[in-house]
Amino acid sequence: MSAVIDSHSDDHHHGPAKGITRWLYTTNHKDIGTLYLWFSFLMLFLGGAMAMVIRAELFEPGSQIVSPEFYNQMLTNHGLIMVFGAVMPAFVGLANWIIPMQIGAPDMALPRMNNLSFWILPVAFGILISTFFMEGGGPNFGWTFYAPLSTTYAPPTVTFFIFAVHIMGASSIMGSINIITTILNMRAPGMTFMKMPLFTWTWLITAYLLIAVMPVLAGAVTMMLMDIHFGTSFFNAAGGGDPVLFQHVFWFFGHPEVYIMILPAFGIVSHIIETFSRKPIFGYTSMVYAIASIAILSFIVWAHHMFTVGMPIAGELFFMYTTMLIAIPTGVKVFNWLSTMFKGSISFETPMLFSIAFVALFTIGGLSGLMLAIAPADFQYHDTYFVVAHFHYVLVPGAIFGIIAGVYYWLPKWTGNMYDEVLGKTHFWMSFISVNITFFPMHFVGLAGMPRRIPDYALQFADFNMVISIGAFIFGLTQLLFLFIILKSIFAGKQATSEVWEGAKGLEWTVASPAPYHTFETPPEVK
C-alpha cells in the first residue's frame, strides 16, 4: 500500500459543498459519475416497470390488463428508456468515475460542460415521460420510430418526443467530446496509447462512434419535425419523399449505436477477467485492434436491419457479408477472454461471475446475430421474437451484465466498503437463471413464427409465453436486491483496502478507498 497517493492534505480548500447544491453545481468527475449512475439506475427501474407491464399483458393470450394502444406506448418507451436512459448514461457514469483515475488525470477536461451534459438528461426524460399525461398519449411507434408511423400517424405529442431526442443527443455528444479530450490530452506522463487500460480504450472508440452518429440521429428527427410541421416531404411518398430513406438514416445511426452499447462493457469485463484470473489480459494489442475494427465495420452494415424492404440482390449480399465479417473481431475478443482465464488461478467473486456469464451469454447473442445476418433466412426471422431474443441476449446479459459487473468491481472504491458477497452471489445466480428463463424461449416462439410488437398472440405460443413472463418477473424483482446491496455497501460493510482486489492492476487501485474527492492532482509516473 506504499503507492497510495495521499491527497487528503489539500482537501480543505475544495472539498464537496454541502446539501443539494453539491449535486446541482458540481464539476467534480466523481460526483457527476455518481449522478449519472443513480439516474441510470432509476431509469432501469422505470424501463423495467414498463417491461413488467408488457410481460403481464403477454402472460396469457387474449387481452389482459392494458389496451393495445397503451401496450404500444409501453413497448416504445421501454425501448427508448432502456437504450437512452439506462445503458448509455450508466456507461457515461462509469467513464466519469473511472477514466480520470485510470489515466491519472485530476478531473475531466471540461468540468462545467460535464455538469451540463448530465443535468439536461433528467430534463429530456421528464419531457418524454410527460407525454403520457398529454392528449394522445406517449410515443407509440416503437423505439425505431419508423416514418410514416412517427410522422403521418403519430400522436400529437411526437413533437415533444423529437425535442427529448434532441436533448439526449446533445448530452451524449457533449459527454463524448469531454471523454475524448480528456483521454487525448490528460494522460499521466508515460501512459502511451498502447499502455492505456482497455476500459479507457473502449470508451475512446465509443466516444468517436457517438460523435459520428448522434448528429445523424438529430438530423433524422429534425427531418421528421420538418415533415410534420413545415410541409416538407423527406419521408412522405405523396410529396416525392421515401419512407425507406428514413430506415436508412435511422440505421446508419442505429447499428453503430448497438456497438456504443456494448464496447465499454467489453472493456469492463476485460479488466475483471484479468484481475480474477490473476493473469494479464491475453492479447492486449489484438483487443485494441479488434475494438477498432468492430467500430469501423459498424458503419457499413446498417442495412442488415432492412433485408426485407426490397433491396436488390447486390445490396443483400453486401450487407450480409460485411455483417458476418464483424464476427471475426468479436471472435478474437471472446478467444482472448477465454485464453486469459485458461490456466489462471481463478476466483469467483461476484464481478467475475457476471463477467463469465457475459462472455457465455453475449456469445449466444452474437451467434443468433449471425443467423439473422443470413439475408435469405432473415426473411423468416425478421420482426419475430427471434430478433427480440437476439438483441436481449446482447443487451441484458451483455451490456447490462457488463455494467453490473463493473459496479460490483468498483463499488468498494466508491463507497470504501466491501459489498455483501453472499448477497452478491445470490443476486448473480437469480439474475443468471431468470435471464435465461426469460429470453431463451423467445428463440423458440420466434422461430415458430410469433411476431414481435403485438399485445396478443396465437394459442400455440401460450405455454412458452407464460414461462417467459415468470422469468421476467423473477429477473425484475431480483434487481431490487441489487439496489439493496448497493445501499448496504454505502452504509456498512468490511472496510476496503486501496487495492480492493488481490493483485488488481491499474492506477485506480493505487488511490485510497473510498477514493478521495480529488485524486491525481499531481500526475503519477507511469513506467
Binding site: 477536461a109 467530446i177 487525448l184 448528429p215 438530423g219
Partner: protein
C-alpha cells in the same frame, strides 16, 4: 492554442459535419437510386433518340394504378397490358376523376419494377411529379409517353409501371396558408 482546445474544435466540427452528412444522405440516396435504378425510381421526362440500327425486341408492359389510403378519386389507365417493342414510342392515357363534392389536389408517384429495368424505362411525357387540382365531379385524361430502351437486359421480359395516387389536399392548403 492549448492542445485541449484544438481537440475540442476538431470534435465540434466533426459533430457539425456529421449533422450535415445526415441531411446529405437524402440527395445521396436519391442519386444512388436513380443511377442504379434501385427502388424503381425513374428520372423525370427525357427525350431519347435512337439511330436506326438497334435491335428491337418484344416486351410486355403492365400498367398498375393504385389509390393511397383514403384517396377517393377514380384513377384508371386506358390499358392494363401492352405488347410493345423496345425503341418505339407509345402513349397510354390515364383518367382521373374527383367524385367527391369538394376540390382536391392529388399527386401520382411512379414506380417501375423490376428495379433493374427501371433505368431503361424512359418517359418522354408524364403527369407524375405534378400536383393536380380537380374540382368536384371534374374528370381529366392525361397521357404518359414512353420509350423502352433497346439496351434493356434480355432477362427482363416484363416491365410494370405502377402509379400510386396520393391525396395531398391538406399539405397544399397548409402550404398556401403559409405563403
Amino acid at each position: 492554442m492549448k492542445a485541449a482546445t484544438k481537440t475540442n474544435l476538431k470534435l465540434v466540427s466533426l459533430v457539425l459535419g456529421m449533422f450535415c452528412f445526415g441531411f446529405a444522405l437524402v440527395p445521396i440516396y436519391d442519386v444512388f437510386c436513380e443511377i442504379t435504378g434501385l427502388n424503381g425510381k425513374v428520372s423525370g421526362p427525357t427525350i431519347t433518340e435512337y439511330d436506326d440500327n438497334f435491335n428491337s425486341r418484344e416486351i410486355k408492359i403492365l400498367f398498375v394504378t393504385k389509390n393511397n389510403e383514403n384517396m377517393a378519386w377514380n384513377f384508371t389507365s386506358e390499358k392494363r397490358i401492352l405488347d410493345a417493342e423496345t425503341g418505339t414510342a407509345y402513349t397510354v392515357d390515364y383518367t382521373f376523376e374527383n367524385p367527391t363534392d369538394y376540390p382536391m389536389v392529388a399527386q401520382a408517384i411512379p414506380s417501375v419494377s423490376p428495379g433493374k429495368g427501371a433505368q431503361y424505362f424512359h418517359k418522354t411525357e408524364c403527369f407524375c411529379f405534378e400536383e393536380q387540382l380537380l374540382q368536384p365531379g371534374e374528370k381529366l385524361t392525361m397521357p404518359v409517353r414512353f420509350i423502352i430502351d433497346p439496351d434493356l437486359p434480355d432477362d427482363v421480359p416484363v416491365l410494370t409501371l405502377g402509379y400510386t395516387l396520393f391525396d395531398i389536399s391538406e399539405s397544399h392548403i397548409k402550404l398556401q396558408a403559409s405563403n
